[in-house]
Symmetry: C2
């Protein structure tokens, strides 16, 4: 952020009076521009014990498999966002949905929330952002070709919870992946 | 939003190619400026069956009682945000915390998340944003002087769930309050 979105003046990155962390503050009109985490909402659609996954047609992670998910929009609820993304990416409607997994990704300022639901019908198809959409038995899940960690972790939780016949709501922090230093 | 925060040019409110809703798009550098819901994180601190509430020293709702809560910051988890707000507003540390209530407030583009926790000690005090902090028995809760609906609803859920001896995670949509039209 370099310019004030309200008046167009330059902004400075300073700690405002009465605050305790740096914010972008307008040099002209003094407006403080807060930056806060974004929410990604998605679903774990199930039909006859099989799980619906979408192969991504867009970056990031084009060609990898994901649960339907995307940024929550202003004016909608978490569940509405999850249903909209499911419709957009998999042309599928969900039956009654339960909130299931919440992941904190503080290193990228995101919270990912997944709802668990049966598909409302057998109809699904690849939406514009998907190359392919299909149902997977547990043994068929392409674990090495999953697009995102929160997708993998939601699937892990689901299959474990299904065995245990209970689906507790889970809130987990996913720190950055350890990077192996490469030294010459 | 009137100006691009990246280059300072004017923005237009238009539907970008490949999108389906209006966004602020820069007339100069073409950057799309997305606007998304914010997260408010807070806690329901309990000690010996009593609930800790803070009387607000700041607007909005100065003088009314609230659970400690505030906007989640970049770089923190939901639970860290709830603990930070509890420390800032009530000078109190929480023991182990469980995610408890999630409220969608689509009319104000917010999601409120409360964690349930015992206080880690008997120490608490009014932080800068509080006039007063105290513990309340259920019968003492100032229902008509609560600052926010998500606070009232979290307390309602808590006392009901305590009777039932189970604390399911709840996700509820709180639509705008009905406004009674005043006609002359």
């Amino acid at each position: 952020m370099k310019f004030c979105s309200a008046c167009g003046h330059r902004v400075s990155h300073v700690i405002p009076a009465g605050d305790n962390r740096p914010r972008y503050v307008c040099d002209g009109c003094a407006q403080v521009h807060y930056q806060n985490p974004n929410i990604v909402a998605g679903s774990l659609p199930v039909l006859g014990g099989r799980v619906l996954l979408c192969r991504r047609a867009i970056e990031p992670r084009r060609g990898f498999w994901t649960l339907p998910a995307g940024f929550m929009e202003n004016g909608e609820s978490l569940e509405q966002a999850a249903r909209r993304e499911t419709l957009e990416e998999a042309c599928a409607n969900l039956g009654p949905a339960q909130i299931y997994t919440l992941f904190d990704l503080p290193h990228i300022n995101q919270v990912h929330v997944f709802f668990r639901a049966e598909l409302a019908s057998e109809h699904f198809a690849a939406g514009e952002e998907s190359l392919e959409v299909r149902l997977f038995e547990e043994a068929e899940i392409p674990w090495k070709e999953l697009a995102f960690r929160t997708v993998a972790r939601t699937l892990e939780c689901y299959f474990a919870d299904r065995l245990a016949a209970g689906y507790p709501v889970r809130n987990e922090v996913l720190p950055p992946l350890a990077v192996t230093a490469v030294t010459p």
